[in-house]
Structure formats: structure tokens, C-alpha cells
Amino acid sequence: MPPNGAEIVMEALQSPKPYSFRREMFNQFRKNHLAMGGLILIGFFFVIALTVLSFAFFKVYFPADPNAINLTQRLLPPSASHLLGTDQLGRDVLSRMLHGSWISLTVGFVSVAIAISIGVLIGSVSGYFRGWVDVVLMRFVDIMMTFPTFFLILTVVALLGPGFCKVMIVIGLTSWTGTARFVRAEILSLRQRDFVQAALAVGAPSGRIILRHVLPNAMAPVLVSATLGVAGAVLTESGLSFLGFGVQPPQPTWGNILTEGRLYIFDAWWLTLFPGLAILAMVLAFNLCGEGIRDALDPRLRR
């Protein structure tokens, strides 16, 4: 049952703190167990990635060196000494997975940062200035949206040659169109509001109006699309890795542990199962979290 108006007012009057949109959103988010689970999982991945990365900086590896080849210990099943088994070169799978975790997170965040920046820029210019600028930019968005995204990314990465930076840039450059569309829609409606008209009337320049008055009010849905975008980017990167166009070995990534392992799938199931589970867990965490934020922002879903 959604709380009625009177209840909300009473609650606001009784609470010692003044009403805040952000706190209200956070309270809504906290009630959503799935979304909170996702957030905790994301935090967990962050802690792992940062710890492993800072230790690796001092050449300290745990539980073992991810690139230490030991041909006498090839394809060992999970055991006490190798918790997730070893791969075809006798390397410890758990260490390789731990040392690959920051790759997935970095690809996710950097490509989304690129996509969101382009999307917000094009969306706000288009929505604020309208007219022919809007027409030209939105036709360009239409064109970009019609290409089959994964095949397009695959083609471009294959032409440029695989690589960590290229993968992030290509994913970023091909996934901004959705953001551009809804930022434009937000801004089209925001720019009609009185506070924007007031800013115009006192002679504020366009850049200031967009950055100070309009954009901050359109940021909440951008956060949702960014969180879901990270999930999509991690999944895309793993798909590219799988087809051999992702981050290249010997750098361990979840995608390429899986790809190398698939040749031994009937002898060493652990090489396929564990990295796949890790990818699933990370993508799931970001998806749950993103949907949780979306629900928290939607007043019709209050319970």
C-alpha cells in the first residue's frame, strides 16, 4: 500500500531532520534487498580489485603469482593448495581471477564514463538549443542506434586490433545514444520551467544555465543509465574476450581465462565455471543496483 499524503506530511513533521530528496531516495533504495545485495557485491569487488592491485604494485601476489607457470601442475582440479584449480600451464586460477578483477571494473567504468560524457553533452546541446542543431544531432543518434551494437563493436575492434584501451574506447563510443536521447527529453522539459526562464531573464549565458541549472536536475536518470551501462560494458568486454578480441593474454581477465579454458572444457570444467560465475556476479550486481536506483526514483513504486 503506498502511504497517503497525510502520512507523508506527518512523517516529515515528526522527523527531526528536514525533508531531503537524496535521503528519501536512499531510504527507498535501502528497503530493496536485491538492490542492496547488488551494492554490497559491488563494494566487495572493489575491495578485492584495489587490494590485489596495490599488493601487485609491490610485487606481492596472493595466493600465488598469477603468471607463474608450472608445467608439472597442469589442469589440477580444485584442492586445498589451489582453491579453484590450475590451468593448462599450471597457473593458479584463483590468483588469475583475483588479478583479472580490476580489468573488468576498469573497462566497465571507463567505457561508461566515455559514453555518459558524450551522451550528456549531445543530449543537453540538442535539448537546450533545439532547432536545426537538434535535428542534425538526433538524426545522427538515429543512425548510430540502427547498427547492431555488438557486431559493430566487434568489427571496429577487429579492424583496429585488440587491446585494453581500444576496447574501452570503442565500447564507450558506441553506447552513448540511449543517454543522449533521454537527457535531451529531460532538458526539453526542464528548459520551460520558471527557474530556467528566470536565469535567462537575468542574462545568464547558455553554458552556465545548462551546467548550473538544468543538468543537475537531470542527473538522477543519468545515474541509473550509468549503473546499467557498467553491467552492459562488462558483458560486452567478456564477449569480445571470448571471441579473441578483448584484452590480450598473458594479462589475466575473466573473459580470456574462460576462452583459454574452453579448449579443455571436458577435462577441466573449473576453467570455464568459475570465471563465468564471476562475470555473472559482477554484471548481476550492477544490474540489480541500477534497477534499484530506478525504482527508488519512481514515486509510483513506493511501498
Binding site: 547492431p148 567478456s238 571471441l243 572444457i265
Partner: protein, 319 residues
């Protein structure tokens, strides 16, 4: 309505133009000459020149673009790899991909729609929470990993063959058994394909149903004393299904993009596999054509979805 379709078709012309420009420009972002990348360096210079002439690579960029468009539209464009017309190669791959998509779509509709309705009518119940969670898993799972896990389970656990269009060495089976064999080889990739679609579609159906249940006419139906089931299935469902119709339009594009990975894993001789093979062998004419056709299909799909929606829902008018 007719006027609307005409207007939409006119609007697609600049978009279509942009699509061909980007498809064409894409291959020129790669360093070096496209031929140099595709051919063995040991090939004599004369042969390379002949190739460049055949593919108009010695012309200025603008002329190349024009000739490419001409070749593409007249079906003359030839593959770098075997010199066969690209369109012919695509058309012969089409049936396998269409079969895969049709079966996957049928599976996903058959499961997702009842699932979504149940979730909406039993909102916040335990099954709803379970469906919701599994929908999220379905969206998040890497399809290639799921495919390998399934192959591992079936082949290792039960010794059932799964790759290709039919079991190797069994082509001479009696017709009925052969048909069953083929159907089984189609079923597995289709299921993997359907997992993601089920996840998205069931959430969509749930949302659509919950949207409709809020309407006044539903309250009226309930106030008249109709039973829950009557209201849900006779009054609400009919309108809740309307937005689902538009999904058909969006399914066409996945014909190429969605199937690259799955077709490669299952050795399924469809368009996705052709796309991956041409990317690997840098067969530019095929890559460009596939991208153009895919984008063109998206345009058609969007138009079909809008028209279909207006046709099933009289509340929408496009005058």
C-alpha cells in the same frame, strides 16, 4: 495512417544515407590498404593491382563510395574471400538464422508472457520475487558461458551430441529420425538465445500488466463484482498485451547482431557465423554489407512496430 507510413518512409531516407556512409567509412579507419590486410604479402603485385581494380580501390574515396553503393544495390558486390557475390552468400545463410530466431522467439513468448502475467497478478509474492531474481540473472549471464555449461552438462553428463545442424555421420538416417535429430540441434542454441529474451520480455509484460491494472475501467470492472480472474484475463490482459506487439518489430535486428556468439559456438551455419568469419578474414565487402543490411532491418523493424501498434490500438492516431 497511409500518410503516416509515407512520411515515415521519407524520414528514413537521410538515416539510410548516413548508414551507408558510416558502413563505408568504417573499413577505412583501419591502418593500411584494405587489400594489404586481406591478402597474403607473397601474392604478386600484378594480382594485387587486379584486385584493387576489381574493388575500385584505386579510385578517389567519393567515387569508391558511389561505386560501392551501385554494386551493393545491384547485387554485384563480391566477397574478398572467395569472389562470390556477397548477397548470394548472405541469402544462403538466411534460412538457418531465421529458423533459429523463430524458434527462440516462440520459446521466449511461450514462457515469458505467462511468467509476466503471474508476476503482476501476484505482485510481491514469493514466486514474483523468484521470477524477478531469475530475470536479472537471465539479463546478466554471458550467453557463451551458459552455452558451454549446457554443452558440458549434456555431453559429459548424458553423452548427447549438440553441435552443427545434425549429428555427424548420421545424415543417412530415416527421414523421421533425421528430422528429430535436426530439431534437437536447433533447440539448444534457440534455448540459449531465448534466455535473455525471456528475462527482458517477462519484466516488460509484468510492467505493462501493472500499468493497465491502475486504470479506471479495471476499478469499474471490479466494482461491478467481477471475479479477479475475469478482470485480469478478460479486461486487463487484452490491453496489457498491446505493447508486446511492438516487440516483434525489435526482434528483426537481433537476426545479425544477437547471434554472432551463439552461432559460432554451436557451429550453426547462419548469418552471425558468417559475420564472425568475415571479421576474422577481413572480408570487407561482406562486413560492410552485413552492417548495412542489419541497420536497414532495424529501420524496417521500427517502422513495422509503430504501424502494428497503431493498428492494434485504436487509441493511437498518427494523423
Amino acid at each position: 495512417m497511409f500518410g503516416y507510413i509515407i512520411r515515415r518512409l521519407i524520414q528514413t531516407i537521410p538515416v539510410l544515407f548516413g548508414i551507408t556512409v558510416i558502413s563505408f567509412a568504417m573499413i577505412h579507419i583501419a591502418p593500411g590498404s584494405p587489400i594489404g590486410q586481406a591478402l597474403d604479402p607473397k601474392v604478386p603485385k600484378k594480382v594485387v593491382e587486379q584486385w584493387e581494380k576489381n574493388f575500385h580501390l584505386n579510385e578517389p574515396m567519393l567515387v569508391q563510395y558511389g561505386l560501392w553503393l551501385k554494386d551493393l544495390s545491384s547485387g554485384q558486390l563480391k566477397s574478398f574471400k572467395d569472389g562470390r557475390p556477397v548477397l548470394e552468400k548472405i541469402v544462403e545463410r538466411l534460412p538457418a538464422t531465421i529458423w533459429l530466431n523463430v524458434v527462440a522467439t516462440l520459446i521466449s513468448f511461450a514462457i515469458a508472457i505467462p511468467m509476466g502475467i503471474f508476476s503482476a497478478t501476484h505482485r510481491y509474492s514469493l514466486p514474483d520475487h523468484i521470477f524477478t531474481f531469475f530475470a536479472f540473472v537471465g539479463i546478466s549471464v554471458p550467453s557463451f558461458w551458459l552455452a558451454y555449461m549446457l554443452i558440458l552438462l549434456l555431453v559429459q553428463g548424458f553423452g548427447i551430441p549438440v553441435l552443427g545442424v545434425q549429428t555427424f555421420g548420421l545424415a543417412a538416417l530415416p527421414p523421421l529420425a533425421s528430422l528429430a535429430d535436426r530439431a534437437w540441434h536447433l533447440f539448444l542454441p534457440a534455448v540459449i538465445f531465448a534466455v535473455g529474451e525471456i528475462a527482458v520480455l517477462s519484466r516488460y509484460m509484468r510492467g505493462s500488466m501493472l500499468e493497465v491494472v491502475r486504470e479506471d475501467y479495471i476499478r469499474t470492472a471490479k466494482a461491478k463484482g467481477l471475479s479477479e480472474d475475469q478482470v485480469n484475463y478478460h479486461h486487463a490482459l487484452r490491453n496489457a498485451l498491446l505493447p508486446i506487439v511492438t516487440i516483434f518489430g525489435f526482434l528483426i535486428p537481433s537476426l545479425i547482431g544477437g547471434s554472432v556468439i551463439i552461432e559460432s559456438i554451436f557451429a550453426w551455419p547462419g548469418i552471425g557465423q558468417l559475420g564472425y568469419q568475415s571479421v576474422l578474414s577481413r572480408d570487407y565487402p561482406t562486413i560492410m554489407t552485413l552492417n548495412t543490411i542489419a541497420a536497414f532491418l532495424v529501420l524496417l523493424g521500427n517502422l513495422a512496430a509503430d504501424v502494428l501498434y497503431a493498428w492494434v490500438d485504436p487509441r493511437i492516431s498518427y494523423s
